[in-house]
């Protein structure tokens, strides 16, 4: 399933995007379409075009427009946020667009084969691979927690953290879709995607932490967010499975129904993930060291035994040969 080279039936053709050639439709959301495009230098980009008439009410168009305007200036200042490279259009024109860096192709990475390109998102990774190794969950979680922490420090909220909004660029996870980015802390609003919205509603940093917790749940268990907090069905007794159970404690603390029992901030969640990685690394190192020490001790014992046997044999030999 590659890009669709025609625009959706019944809709106006896409407006011209300065210095970009639109090559095909690669994504459709509730607020607009995402196109594969090539810029004047031949680099591939993603262009999202949002039309006012695609929303049920006018306020949503303004909201998305404001979100992009707030997100754009800081998007290039953090590795965990997708870069917005150009913004255009206006309310008067009835549309706006923004040009973003392009996600890796699901198969060929940064090599884009026109007509076969399919953006790599975290949701596609889960679809293809099931639950992801815990090391990968920690790295992805840390990258997105760091990006959220950065947004929150700039008094912005993402409000729609979910696997399909996490894309990979050069193999690195990034938070995409600035459509609901907001600086208005309006607790209780239910914007976002059902199942990822905190019980108390979105509109606070704690609610963003909750959404990321649900993402970590899905990628570490391979289960749907609505099955939370069930553990993976194939949970066994391997070292990886023990890691799943330990990692699950971070997930549970991110998704507590009571926001006061959650990590207080994305920064705290990031610290927990980094500590987890460090502790697992230290545990593995300690285990490896203990294993090596035991092996060395056994080797020493065997050598000592062999030496003793040889010594006894030598003494006996000397005695029997009368020397």
């Amino acid at each position: 399933m590659g890009p669709n080279l025609t625009f959706p039936a019944g809709e106006d053709p896409p407006p011209p995007i300065p210095e970009h050639e639109l090559l095909g439709l690669i994504g459709t959301g509730s607020s607009g379409h995402v196109w594969l495009a090539k810029n004047a230098l031949g680099a591939f980009r993603a262009v999202k075009i949002v039309r006012e008439n695609s929303f049920n009410y006018g306020g949503a168009f303004d909201r998305e427009w404001q979100g992009v305007l707030k997100f754009e200036p800081i998007s290039r200042s953090h590795d965990g946020l997708v870069d917005i490279l150009q913004v255009g259009g206006s309310k008067e024109a009835g549309y706006f667009y923004y040009v973003m860096e392009l996600a890796d192709d699901i198969i060929s990475g940064q090599v884009v084969i026109q007509g076969r390109y399919l953006p790599r998102t975290l949701s596609r990774d889960i679809e293809r691979r099931g639950r992801l190794p815990i090391g990968e969950c920690v790295r992805t979680g840390a990258a997105i927690a760091s990006a959220l922490s950065f947004l929150h420090r700039h008094d912005l909220l993402h409000c729609d953290v979910k696997p399909s909004n996490i894309i990979f660029v050069n193999g690195f996870p990034k938070l995409a879709d600035a459509g609901l980015v907001s600086e208005v802390f309006k607790p209780g609003a239910r914007v976002g995607t059902e199942g990822f919205i905190a019980p108390e509603g979105s509109g606070t940093p704690e609610a963003d932490v909750y959404s990321l917790g649900k993402v970590l749940y899905e990628i570490s268990t391979g289960k749907d967010r609505n099955e939370y907090p069930e553990l993976p069905p194939d949970l066994g007794e391997t070292a990886e499975d023990r890691d799943v159970v330990q990692f699950n404690k971070i997930v549970l603390r991110s998704c507590r129904a009571n926001p006061r029992q959650r990590f207080r901030s994305a920064e705290d969640l990031l610290t927990a993930l980094v500590s987890f990685q460090f502790c697992q690394h230290q545990l593995r190192k300690a285990k490896a060291w203990r294993y090596s020490a035991r092996l060395l001790a056994w080797c020493g014992l065997v050598v000592a035994l062999v030496a003793s046997v040889l010594m006894v044999w030598r003494v006996v030999w000397l005695l029997t040969h009368g020397k």
Partner: protein, 213 residues
């Protein structure tokens, strides 16, 4: 988890009926959500068993909920309407029939069906081997239990639900659960007792809320 739920149904479902009232206030968004959360799985499952695709079954869920909203007042006023359970069954079957009729309008339908006749609502195969009523009853009870489990899932502490899930639904030995989760066996037993009681209570509450009108 479906088979485990079915096997647990008898333990959890007491046989008594009570009044449905909240559905009548359709301006109340919470009532819509409550109704949808409780019954979508039942309607969807019956639609799928009738041979509809995922998309068609989702449409049946939406159309059935809308039908309920439109006619709940009339249903309540008419004493001949029977039970809510039977009324909902009829609405579901009619909406399934609508979907099957829609197929006939699709190009190439004649080729797909070999020119066959469209089944009438009474012929919708919701049970090939048992009586339709018994099958609906089984689905109804299983759905009620699942809805209760979903509600309790939101109410208890996550660790307790995990212990319940591993012990009751996946049948892990208590010792294995205690070792895996790093808790005492007593806590596992306590979690099972607490969650089971809550589910039973929730089933009774759901029945009280929806089952009688």
């Amino acid at each position: 988890m479906g088979s485990e739920i079915t096997s647990l149904t008898e333990d959890f479902i007491p046989t008594r009926y009570s009044l449905l009232s909240r559905l009548q206030n359709w301006g109340d968004e919470a009532s819509w959500k409550d109704f949808f959360d409780t019954y979508w799985r039942l309607i969807y499952s019956v639609a799928r068993r009738a041979g509809l695709t995922e998309t068609e079954a989702q449409e049946v869920v939406q159309e059935t909920v809308i039908s309920v909203a439109k006619s709940i007042h009339r249903f309540r006023r008419d004493p001949k309407s029977g039970s809510f359970k039977g009324w909902l069954r009829n609405l579901t079957r009619w909406r399934i029939a609508d979907q099957l009729r829609k197929r006939t309008r699709l190009p190439g339908y004649e080729d797909l069906t070999g020119g066959g006749r469209l089944p009438e609502p009474d012929e919708i195969p919701d049970t090939p081997d048992e009586s339709a009523g018994a099958r609906w009853e089984e689905e109804w009870q299983a759905n009620l239990l699942q809805a209760a489990i979903d509600r309790v899932r939101q109410q208890v502490k996550e660790e307790q639900f995990q212990m319940f899930d591993l012990q009751v639904l996946r049948e892990w030995p208590v010792e294995r659960i205690a070792e895996t989760l790093g808790v005492s066996a007593a806590r596992v037993y306590l979690a099972k007792h607490r969650v089971t009681s809550m589910i039973k209570k929730e089933v009774r509450t759901l029945q009280k809320k929806w089952d009688q009108i």
